[in-house]
Symmetry: C2
Subunit: 297 residues, 2 copies
């Protein structure tokens, strides 16, 4: 039995039409027919009920469709991981990160990696709706930077740094670090923030912040994208609340007012990941532990 035959089976199971399925796997209809027959003979299990016009999965075929889909995906993951181990520091690893560090910690990190492991390629992903935990467990990323700790026995975490949460306004705004006394004073301000109904860590942090200060913001624009938010704030369409890191994006015309609230940055990885390159990258990441180093520039 070959993995190719399993893949032929899975595509045919989806299409239930030999010619259409053969087109999808780039072989002739007769080749597909023979390969399916050969597979059925080898494993001694009838996979399809079929005649000249109808193709249906048998009960065993349905069972195998479900199980082999998972198994084949797992084999593919295993092979990709093995490839990374084989290629070592001349290969590549995947890293996901939150947008908030794109201008702060991340450039520092990438510089260090480029210096120490010049042949290593990085695949960077800024996930929008996938939780980092899921990305790690599904092998869609090897290292995940994120703002909240991941409680999962299969995932290891390390806190990289802590930074303040900031009120972000236009420079022309009446608010300054000196004038702000109570967040409640902002209840008439227009806010440009992440949707408070969202399940992301940052949304829940915002919810808690407003709850603690006993007011509900007047949200006029909802967005998750920090860069977009900064531009809108610069155009005086409203004010926002973002991590301090965004200050380094150097969008002109905005000011950052530190609030009495902090946010962490964690690096996470699969606990049992045997890839020495991933381990090396994590060790390097740990040496870059203060965003303030970049601030002094």
């Amino acid at each position: 039995m070959t993995t190719q035959q399993i893949k032929y089976f899975l595509v045919l199971a989806g299409e239930l039409h030999f010619w259409k399925a053969s087109e999808k796997v780039y072989v002739s209809q007769s080749t597909l027919s023979r390969q399916i027959q050969s597979l059925e003979q080898e494993i001694g299990i009838k996979l399809f009920e079929r005649d000249k016009r109808n193709v249906k999965l048998t009960d065993a075929g349905k069972f195998l469709q479900e199980k082999w889909t998972v198994a084949i995906n797992e084999l593919d993951h295993i092979q990709k991981q093995a490839k990374k181990i084989d290629q070592g520091t001349s290969g590549f690893i995947s890293i996901s990160y939150p947008g908030s560090i794109a201008f702060s910690y991340l450039p520092l990190f990438l510089n260090v990696i480029n210096e120490d492991l010049p042949d290593l390629k990085l695949e960077l992903t800024e996930p929008t709706d996938e939780r980092h935990e899921k990305l790690l467990l599904n092998y869609e990323t090897d290292i995940a930077f994120n703002r909240d700790v991941i409680n999962n026995i299969h995932i290891s975490s390390f806190k990289i740094n802590t930074e303040p949460i900031c009120l972000v306004t236009s420079e022309k705004h009446w608010l300054t670090e000196k004038t702000i006394i109570n967040l409640k004073d902002l209840k008439d301000e227009n806010f440009i923030i992440a949707g408070l109904h969202k399940t992301t860590y940052f949304s829940s942090l915002l919810r808690n912040l407003f709850l603690k200060n006993e007011f509900e913001p007047k949200t006029v624009i909802e967005s998750d994208f920090g860069g977009m938010i900064l531009n809108l704030v610069a155009q005086e369409l409203g004010i926002s609340i973002l991590p301090y890191s965004y200050k380094f994006s150097n969008v002109p015309g905005v000011q950052f007012i530190e609030l009495n609230e902090k946010i962490d940055l964690f690096i996470n990885w699969r606990k049992t990941d045997p890839n020495k390159t991933t381990q090396k990258v994590i060790e390097l990441a740990k040496t870059i532990n203060s965003y303030k180093k970049y601030k002094s520039k």
Copy 2:
């Protein structure tokens, strides 16, 4: 990539000697050499460091040895399950059971299965040291009768029946149902029972029984095997405590005195088992719910 190549790899990874490994997989040394080379080329990963005298796994090879071992076992399980589904009531299923029902519930059950599903083959196993839970999860059994409930979200349970725990003595013993007042009276008796340090359910039931009656038995023989125990009791080497079911083994010269304690019998199966034959067998098992029916014979 074929499953056969993966199996060649796994055997070679174990042996680290081409000729020895080729003997184990029944091909020539040159065939094995070429198949490993072919696999390495197809997946683009170097599996072994080798020259004419040394064969060592690479880091990637070690990783794949671990992962592919699990994956291949999983594929084998999947295929066996699919075979069972394919064969339906003309195939076979595996059933494990505790020794105590070998003469009571089990013969009833087997009679019913034989009548309703005459073409179905059963593999019966009386596990000695494996927990039924593990046997189910590892696909080593499809249905597990046992005395304790299995708390596992992947396993479904159904209580078949409840029966008394009995004091088992020789017929010539001074004890009768009329003379027994308190188990403490038995503290000078010789006991032939399962080891109280064992982790089995029955051992812990015995421990609780003695604890409740505030005495420690004088154990002269330790055994898990009910049939052996009955014979020794008949020979007046001591007395024992066993489930009522053993009464039906018809060992002459022993009497069963019901105690004020009960024990259950459960049938367990994998919650997501799609095999209709297994489901049918479970439904049939549920219809046989009283050991007393057999008793009236």
